[in-house]
């Protein structure tokens, strides 16, 4: 076998491997999509058999029975409010840390970024939530999501702020800009792509999360989609058509966002890991 043949075989094998792995990755999602459109009698289990009668009834059933409209709104409120809080507070902090870089500021930056690593003590957190009257409230869960996302967001934005030259700041100050206008009118617009990255990651993480509500939201009318589905699964364990419809409704925004913002998502979550 000469070098040319070897190259072709190699190329072929690589592409076959790529397809096999991709198919394995697609199995669960394909199962969900197929089974979400099946009527109940075809769907005691999840299979790849295509639906004989395509039905949209599952979706209306889960929205009625699972009160999914409410949960969908809750998820939307939690994810977008937490994202706004995190991105605003996070970018302001990252900006100050990155520009000042004194010993004290670096220490505080490290203290904040340590939050990426340290685990939450959920049991003691409940005490804090009770004392501050945040337990089982919507603002409480939003602030909580903001707090847990801040460390990574600051870490991510710190790197991006460093790339904006400080000459700009000086020029703006000479033109009579105050520190607040300098940040909001000059720096923030320049940070826009990075802010989008941070916001998309924040939104997705909050949308997907279900441990915080599991601990800190007792009343079902405040549950986000994830917890609602989990509860729904407990009630309708055999009705995979309904569960799949439920899951699909939760995944759709995520998948749409992933397809549109893939660059930001992948870029953001690999930034920091790779120093080219």
């Amino acid at each position: 076998m000469n070098a040319r043949h070897k190259k072709i075989v190699n190329y072929g094998l690589k592409n076959i491997l790529a397809w096999i792995i991709s198919l394995i990755m697609l199995i669960p999602l394909t199962l969900i999509v197929i089974n979400a459109f099946k009527p109940a009698e075809e769907c005691f289990t999840m299979t790849f058999a295509l639906p004989k009668n395509i039905t949209l009834e599952n979706f209306s059933t889960v929205i009625e029975k699972g009160k999914l409209g409410r949960s969908f709104l809750n998820s939307l409120v939690y994810a977008s409010s937490a994202t706004v809080i995190t991105v605003i507070l996070g970018s302001m902090a990252a900006y100050v840390f990155s520009r000042r870089r004194g010993k004290a500021m670096n220490a505080i930056y490290m203290y904040l970024v340590l939050g990426i690593v340290i685990p939450i003590n959920y049991v003691a957190l409940m005490k804090v939530m009770q004392v501050t009257h945040l337990n089982n409230t919507m603002p409480g869960i939003i602030l909580l999501y903001g707090a847990i996302q801040l460390p990574f967001t600051v870490f991510l934005l710190y790197g991006f702020v460093s790339k904006i030259p400080t000459d700009l700041d000086e020029a703006a100050i000479i033109d009579g800009c105050g520190p607040i206008r300098l940040f909001f009118n000059i720096i923030l617009p320049l940070l826009k792509p990075s802010l989008i990255t941070a916001a998309v990651l924040c939104f997705l993480n909050t949308w997907n999360e279900f441990v915080m509500p599991l601990y800190f939201l007792n009343s079902s009318e405040k549950w986000p989609m994830t917890l609602a589905i989990y509860n729904f699964f407990g009630q309708f364990e055999k009705s995979w058509n309904l569960i799949c419809a439920d899951i699909l409704l939760t995944c759709l925004p995520v998948i749409a966002m992933y397809i549109i913002c893939q660059k930001y998502i992948v870029g953001g979550s690999t930034a920091g890991a790779v120093k080219g």
């Binding site: 792995i21 990755m25 507070l89 900006y95 100050i173 890991a273």
Partner: protein, 291 residues
């Protein structure tokens, strides 16, 4: 203008306050509570010294087993995800048709909610009706069918398998970015010198990729030690605590109102992670801080 005026410290105040109040304060008061008998059943909270720690680290209770499970989970998933991720990254970084499609698909599991991944796999791994056993029966490997999530001997393996399915694509993506950042001239020079593929990997790719690999390992270890949601959804620690990890145990104590025990385990983890975290953060932030 002075830096302190130009970049006022109060810009960072909101972030610091929110983070301190809801992430750090619970960690610290949690340590205090772990020396008490705090529970849902009594209004009084009494100091009990080291009783909780003795209980957690005694051989009579199962906690040591949960710690062992957590470490096993962390070790196995880290090695598997890094190993598979590296192999895939090497295979798929160049010369693959539709590579954006493949990368997009392989990264996708990590944008889906862990809850959803867990639910779908409880169906796929169902012994009677699940897709995996159906597939094995279909291709004549009947003897390989298993009670994936309920057989005590293999349940933990299945849980780790699902986690590897979920996390490998993410690690691969990070490593591909790392591989593509290696300047091509190195490979060209090596080719001129007649280096084989393996030699190129050993002398160029691997050394250049080491910092990225270190970061992926750090991320995996951190994730593994804190794992909760996937185990909770797939097995909730069962059968018979065979898949119980630290944080599923904490949640069980929390739901039973045994707050002191829950906070004791959390505090042990908190202190442990703050110490290793301090070094890990130094690795993660090295470049930026030195600049």
């Amino acid at each position: 203008m002075k830096k302190s005026k130009l970049y006022p410290w109060y810009f960072a105040l909101g972030a610091i306050l929110l983070y301190t109040a809801l992430c750090v304060v619970p960690g610290i008061i949690g340590i205090g509570y772990s020396f008490t008998d705090w529970s849902a059943y009594s209004k009084e909270v009494n100091f009990v010294g080291l009783d909780n720690f003795k209980k957690v680290f005694s051989a009579d209770d199962n906690y040591l087993g949960y710690i062992k499970n957590t470490l096993l989970f962390t070790g196995v998933t880290t090695v598997a995800k890094t190993g598979l991720g590296l192999l895939l990254a090497l295979a798929l970084s160049r010369n693959v048709k539709a590579k954006n499609f493949h990368r997009g698909v392989m990264y996708m599991p990590s944008v889906l909610s862990v809850l959803i991944v867990g639910l779908v796999f409880t169906s796929i791994l169902n012994p009677k009706t699940g897709f995996l056993n159906e597939l094995l029966r279909g291709i004549g490997l009947e003897s390989f069918t298993q009670k994936w999530l309920t057989d005590p001997a293999i349940a933990f393996g299945s849980v780790m398998g699902v986690d590897i399915w979920r996390g490998t694509g993410y690690i691969m993506t990070i490593l591909i970015v790392g591989i593509l950042a290696i300047p091509n001239v190195y490979y060209e020079a090596a080719s001129i010198d007649g280096a084989s593929g393996f030699q190129k990997f050993k002398s160029i790719t691997f050394p250049m990729l080491k910092p990225t690999l270190a970061v992926t390992i750090v991320l995996n270890v951190l994730y593994g030690l804190k794992v909760f949601d996937l185990v909770y959804v797939l097995t909730n620690g069962g059968p018979g605590h065979k898949t119980e990890v630290m944080y599923t145990a904490v949640f069980k104590q929390f739901s039973q109102g045994l707050y002191a025990e829950g906070t004791t385990i959390s505090s042990v983890m908190f202190v442990f992670m703050v110490i290793i975290g301090f070094f890990m953060i130094k690795i993660l932030t090295k470049d930026e801080v030195v600049e």
